[in-house]
């Protein structure tokens, strides 16, 4: 039952500024993901919140209480590490019990709580084993179990699923989200995987080189990316980004063909973005259609990813599996309401 507040966080490693000025509030019971490529500072932020790393300036509040000078042990948080960090010399039972043992809880209380958590995560049959005897997925569950043992004020996750195979990852994603909702614990979750961030979070913070690019609900970020970086980072296959010139109410493709923008844009160079799944591909020429040449088709089973170009400008299109592809004479429509425009220099959304 607590919020996490990060206020004007700055972090330098020696002379290198890693985080310039970062502020964020994770509301009570909220699940927020820190999403970004490796080296964007997301893990550093998490470790500073945990108290494992010192900040250069700024403040951390957990449950309204300033914890900045406190050691990790006094912050009442729990953390799940990428490599799980299970204690190799302790049994699973003792791994779970460790936090309570430090707090000198009674043996009966510890046993009862371990049983409870173990049954919640369906790891009762593993309690007597040691971490080395467990599979990756089982270790992951134990790491989760250790985190919820003490009913902490906040969960911190540091890429907890990246060591699992794809199938298990999908499964654990759902499980972590369900658990978090059931227990109602405030969560800060670090990941570089956009699918994890999109599917699990209440809100996503997209980070780039220590700066916040955008904060928003998953669909907000998908539908209204605040910058070129976000547009490029979210979505798979990635959004088509085309450098164009503006001309009155139109944008002009590199080939010279005009496309209606449906709004007024600053004159000069801008970047046009459109998601592959929003493009209409057909064999019929409409009023706004552009000629499209297909060069390669990737069959995914559920859909086709079509690679091709409009008069030399590369464009990727997602096409439903059950429909037949047009042949030589193909045309694409770029629907007005799905067009994104970005300032070519600052990358900001227009």
């Amino acid at each position: 039952m607590a919020s996490i507040e990060v206020k004007n966080l700055k972090k330098k490693f020696g002379e290198v500024k890693v985080i310039e000025d970062f502020s964020l509030t994770v509301k009570d019971r909220e699940f927020i993901s820190l999403l970004g490529p490796s080296g964007c500072g997301k893990s550093t932020i998490l470790r500073i919140v945990a108290g494992l790393e010192e900040l250069t300036s700024g403040n951390i509040l957990i449950g309204g209480k300033v914890v900045t000078p406190l050691e990790p042990k006094d912050r009442d948080i729990a953390m799940v590490f990428q490599n799980y960090a299970l204690y190799p010399h302790k049994t699973i039972f003792e791994n779970l019990a460790y936090g309570l043992r430090i707090r000198k809880k009674s043996e009966t209380e510890i046993t009862a709580r371990v049983k409870e958590v173990a049954s919640l995560l369906q790891i009762e049959q593993l309690l007597e084993r040691r971490p080395a005897q467990l599979s990756g997925g089982q270790q992951q569950r134990v790491a989760m179990g250790r985190a919820i043992m003490r009913e902490p004020q906040a969960f911190l996750f540091d890429e907890p699923l990246s060591n699992l195979d794809a199938k298990l990852r999908n499964h654990m994603r759902v499980e972590i989200r369900q658990l978090q909702q059931r227990l109602g614990i405030t969560t800060l979750y670090v990941t570089h995987d956009q699918v994890e961030a999109m599917t699990m979070s209440d809100r996503i913070v997209v980070l780039n080189q220590g700066d916040i690019e955008q904060i928003g609900r998953p669909l907000e970020i998908y539908e209204k990316p605040a910058s070129l970086f976000v547009a490029n980072f979210i979505g798979s296959p990635a959004m088509n980004l085309i450098k164009v010139k503006t001309d009155a109410g139109n944008v002009v493709l590199p080939s010279g063909s005009p496309v209606a923008a449906g709004r007024t844009l600053p004159s000069g160079e801008i970047t046009l973005g459109i998601r592959p799944e929003r493009i209409k591909l057909s064999g019929n020429k409409g009023a706004q259609s552009l000629p499209y040449r297909i060069t390669l088709v990737e069959e995914l089973g559920s859909q086709k990813i079509v690679h091709g170009n409009i008069e030399g400008t590369d464009l990727t299109v997602v096409f439903p599996e059950d429909t037949a592809l047009p042949g030589e004479a193909a045309f694409v429509d770029l629907p007005l309401n799905y067009l994104h425009f970005f300032d070519a220099r600052s990358g900001k959304r227009l």
Partner: protein, 276 residues
């Protein structure tokens, strides 16, 4: 590796057998000689391995020389120097392994290079300094002298071993509610126990076998067994059976010990050179 031809195996077994004999023969020679009488030593090559064994040589050296006291000295100095070096060395290794600070690599290299300096360079001045401090012929003095090679060794080895343990283990314990030192003691130390054991074995063996410092720095009270070995050799060399017996007393514990702890030793040795 690929399947090998018959010729390969003939050469392989042949050379291993030859080298194995070369390796074992001197040790056997030491062992059998220690169970002979002075007369039997001269009985010629045919009687090298064919004789009536006797414990006379052992009885003689224990009766005429303070072997037991020297053995105790060797043990006390070895264990003392090992414990001392392990304690401070492991703490220092933690600082080197877990913190990134300017000049760290240079510092690690300085510590390692001490281990590689010629012992004679340290031995001369240490003799003069101990002479002034009344530390000559004391076990304390010898323990301090042995620290010159054991402490750098411990720091070097333990730094590697600690680096191999993910720092997240300590961090998880700290998040679980443990203090920094508590996390080191509760989590890191138990995980490192086999490594500490391996390093300790090496320190004990280095000290047990040490000769130069003991030769220079001790006379009688703190004299260790290796120094006593040359004293058994008179210029006529008639006491070979006694030397052999003393030699056996010195090396048998190491051999037994090293066979028992072989797993740890091979691991430790290989780790020292091949760090990943």
């Amino acid at each position: 590796m690929s399947p090998k031809s018959r010729l390969y195996w003939i050469v392989c077994y042949g050379i291993l057998a030859l080298y194995g004999a070369f390796t074992l023969l001197p040790i056997l020679y030491l062992a059998v000689s220690s169970f002979k009488t002075q007369q039997q030593i001269y009985d010629g090559i045919a009687a090298t391995f064919w004789f009536t064994p006797t414990l006379d040589s052992y009885r003689f050296i224990f009766e005429t020389k303070p072997i037991l006291q020297m053995l105790t000295n060797t043990l006390i100095v070895s264990v003392g120097s090992t414990v001392f070096s392990l304690f401070f060395g492991t703490i220092a290794a933690y600082g080197l392994a877990r913190y990134n600070f300017r000049g760290r690599d240079d510092l690690a290299f300085y510590i390692l290079s001490i281990r590689m300096f010629p012992p004679i360079v340290a031995a001369l001045p240490i003799f003069m300094i101990f002479n002034g401090l009344n530390l000559l012929d004391t076990k304390t003095g010898l323990i301090i002298a042995y620290t010159t090679f054991n402490l750098p060794f411990v720091v070097w080895m333990m730094t590697g071993f600690i680096k191999a343990v993910p720092v997240q283990l300590e961090e998880a314990a700290m998040v679980d509610g443990q203090s920094h030192l508590g996390a080191i003691w509760d989590i890191l130390v138990p995980v490192l126990r086999p490594s500490i054991f391996a390093v300790a074995i090496f320190c004990i063996i280095f000290s047990w076998n040490e000769f130069l410092f003991a030769l220079i720095l001790t006379k009688s009270q703190a004299k260790t067994l290796p120094v006593a070995i040359p004293e058994f050799i008179t210029w006529t060399e008639v006491g070979w059976n006694y030397v052999a017996a003393a030699g056996m007393v010195l090396v048998a514990p190491v051999l037994v010990f090293s066979f028992l702890a072989q797993r740890y030793m091979v691991r430790g040795m290989s780790m020292g050179a091949i760090k990943d």
